[in-house]
Amino acid sequence: MAFNVLIVDDSFSMRAVIKRTIKASGFNIGKFFEAQNGIEALNILNEEWLDLVLTDYNMPEMDGLALITEMKKTENMQDIPVVMITTEGSKQRVAEFIAKGAADYIKKPFTPEEIRQKLNRIMGETDDGEGILDDGDEELDF
């Protein structure tokens, strides 16, 4: 099954790298969507069919935690798994992400292997370790 993924990060470079890393990981992707903050993400979530949201924590306008809170209040969004991709690594902060409803978190810096394992687990896919491309095989598109 291919999954539609929304990447939320105020840095387009980081969004591009996350896209590239997911592609390199071998995770089964349908379409990518991108947003610069939580508000843009909610607009996309209202219009598109999405299976998974990957969001940064620290963003202007609306941060990752506020995005999760809004999604959990909205019927057609509350069951979409959200993964925090963040530099935040404190146990208390991670517990806060999970308590708010995040399915998991990925700490920057990350590897394609970490991304694949976490996303496959969350989406209930078998993780056979195959499909990892050599990093740099795919050029980024903007």
Partner: protein, 157 residues
């Protein structure tokens, strides 16, 4: 917080971020070598600043020659240097600082919560002209095959 622990966390963080995300081999020379760090660099030097607060507060400064920053950006994005823009470069520089700062605190103490500000670009000349007390400043010089770079942590007193 002991300065030695902070230095170790900063060095480990720099290594993890630059080697894992940028595939950049680095060398962390003795602190005494940092005085002449920028002497051999030609071209502009880019600087980014990131404030933090928590059990203690202050800010990080990350300085990198523009040429090296462009090379890192091209590698990060998987593109040729001729197709990257100034905006790509500044976003990459601020993202490097964001990752190094967050990772430093994770390595240092994952029980404590530190809040990070949004990173911003600042003038390298302003950084150089500002005299911080050595008591509250930690400087980590970094050598790469191309050019040096530097991470500073200034702790508010």
């Amino acid at each position: 917080m002991e300065k030695e622990s902070l230095m170790t966390a900063m060095k480990n963080s720099i290594s993890e971020v630059l080697e894992m995300m940028f595939f950049l081999p680095i060398d962390l020379p003795d602190i005494a070598l940092s005085e002449g760090l920028w002497g051999s660099v030609t071209g502009d030097i880019l600087s980014a600043r990131l404030g933090f607060s928590g059990p203690f507060s202050g800010y990080f400064i990350f300085c990198v020659p523009e040429k090296l920053a462009a090379s890192l950006t091209a590698g990060f994005l998987g593109r040729g240097e001729d197709s990257i823009t100034e905006n790509h470069v500044t976003e990459t520089v601020t993202e490097i600082l964001n990752m190094i700062a967050g990772n430093t605190f994770s390595i240092l103490d994952n029980q404590s919560v530190f809040d990070l500000d949004i990173p911003e670009m600042v003038s390298f000349d302003d950084i150089r002209n500002r005299q911080n007390s050595s008591d509250n400043t930690i400087v980590i010089p970094v050598n790469t095959l191309e050019n040096p770079l530097e991470l500073q942590m200034i702790i508010n007193t």
